[in-house]
Symmetry: C2
Subunit: 343 residues, 2 copies
């Protein structure tokens, strides 16, 4: 990255902020620029040309003003470190939605996605805590009528994951309980992702009478870790995107909506979110082609002190980055708090 002198920085910043606000190309006589620099339009033209030269701005056509390129946004984002604080009202809205306490992780992430979308007016994505990263607390086999039981895993974050399994004849409630306890004792404290077949084999000895039940459990656990182990994504507020002028052409809108509904693509991008701070991925920086028209602002939250999941915003590249970063960080932190008090 070429170093920018003071004046170029001021101009870049002013152009980005004016353009983000109005969605209109900004010309050399734009009031924000004149006021910021107190020099004539002609002088500003020179700076604009220079910024275009190094690839931070473009103009759509000869007689249009300047528009930031993806690199321009990047330079802006790197330059402007501080976020744009949320208003007290917004903060308290977030706290209210997440602060109830005792809620299930699933419904908390739901709330997080909704509140994030509503305060920022962008689309929000929240990856619920991956089961795999959580700590296994206990297994329960709850009788469900005569020949069925509900196997339930509980994690220390309070996540429940259940599945009905068929029982062979002659398995008493006591047997189920003994079996649950045996498995729980054996596996307690492990990360769910570590509940491999091998670990489960060790339990066999103690309760060998119920080999098939164990077998069903193994099948479930190992399958779950591969399939459900991928975080479930909640997407909220896609409607806000349609209001943005860049998504008024139906093709643009469709491609973004597709990206947002195609969770695998999104999940990959989110995986890059750092543990602290905020990931900002701008337009062409996105791996996924469908997301090239958007930017993504993501922050991780923690569950019981460990990495848990990601909250993110998706908007046009012409995005309020500072505000988005603050919002994402704030919601992630409150979510960490809400999910963060393991026993």
């Amino acid at each position: 990255m070429v170093e920018l002198d003071q004046r170029k920085r001021v101009v870049l910043r002013a152009v980005v902020e004016a353009y983000v606000r109005s969605a209109e190309p900004v010309g050399s006589e734009h009031p924000a620029l004149l006021e910021e620099l107190r020099v004539s339009p002609a002088t500003i033209r020179g700076v604009l040309a220079a910024l275009e030269e190094i690839g931070l701005l473009t103009h759509p056509h000869t007689s249009a003003g300047r528009v930031p390129t993806d690199q321009g946004y990047r330079a802006y984002v790197d330059m402007v470190v501080e976020g744009e604080r949320l208003t007290p009202a917004e903060r308290s809205a977030v706290r209210r939605r997440l602060g109830a306490g005792g809620e299930e992780p699933e419904s908390l992430t739901d709330q997080a996605a909704r509140v994030l979308a509503s305060i920022t007016q962008y689309a929000s994505v929240v990856a619920s805590p991956t089961l795999g990263a959580q700590t296994f607390a206990s297994l329960h086999l709850l009788p469900l009528g005569e020949r069925r039981a509900l196997a339930v895993i509980v994690t220390d974050a309070g996540t429940l994951q259940g599945r009905a399994i068929e029982l062979p004849d002659g398995v008493a409630a006591d047997d189920l309980e003994r079996l649950s306890h045996a498995v729980t004792r054996r596996l307690q404290g492990l990360r769910v992702a570590d509940l491999t077949r091998d670990r489960l084999e060790q339990v066999t000895g103690e309760v060998s009478r119920h080999q098939h039940v164990l077998e069903a459990l193994k099948a479930w656990l190992t399958r779950d870790l591969t399939r459900e182990g991928r975080a479930r994504l909640r997407v909220e507020g896609t409607r806000h995107l349609l209001r943005e002028p860049e998504f008024r052409q139906p093709e643009a809108a469709t491609s973004v909506l597709e990206a947002l509904e195609e969770h695998t693509v999104l999940a990959q991008t989110l995986a890059a979110a750092p543990e602290a701070g905020v990931l900002i991925s701008i337009g062409s920086e996105n791996q996924a082609a469908e997301l090239r028209a958007c930017s993504l602002v993501a922050a991780s939250y923690r569950v019981g002190g460990r990495p848990g999941g990601v909250v993110a915003l998706v908007g046009p590249t012409r995005m309020r980055y500072r505000r988005a970063a603050s919002a994402v960080r704030y919601v992630a932190d409150r979510l960490s708090e809400a999910l963060g008090n393991p026993a």
Copy 2:
């Protein structure tokens, strides 16, 4: 409704089907009409004019062909009773996604929404089984560290609902178990919606030592039934809607997306779905103003033999009703099967 003679019925049907296929107004010389009736365009013009007279067709402007009105679609739908069978491949796709068995209701409804959207290319909505309508099977208090426990309700359909509660000092694991059993014994077999405070009061006597735990449970149960009692909606495949020509104007698209993201509005409309058969609500027939540009095709599914929830499709009024009705019915039935074997 005015009775239609044979010819008018044939013409209406042909116009609707041609328009649904092509999204272009159909004129008196449209091949489908000529072939169907084997009369001259001039004759057909007369019939078209008559259908317009009684409000089943319009034309956007003088020199355009005819387009069905909402009443036209309604007459068509009422007239054409049989659905359009899904292909064997589509049926097996549905069965594959829902047939695994032993899945949790939550993930089954997820699958249902996805498969429905993918085979029909419309937006799908699935209301997961309301907790309230299910039968309470058991309550469990699972220790979660020193002074916390996870209260879990299990229904006979295998739905889990949990919430962490704080414990006062000196509550042993045994106590929790006794308490769980007492509550379970007392309430087993009731509908979850019937777990009122009154019912819970009856338990008090037996385990009065743990009054505060019971108090927390009551608070949770009664709150849950009002708040979470509302079904959670999953919306899938909104991207397909943007492909439809009627939603190419951004305003139209936004209003539909808003309706789909604003679950309360949608929920009301879905509530009208009959237990058997299929609800078809066309354009202006929808209560919700945001849905006036769409049609909604919905069918109910059952959980353990009782009314459970609704699956629906949302598309433009120019919708493949017969196909949508079949798809919705088929998915609802398979979902009923998957959720239908209570112990």
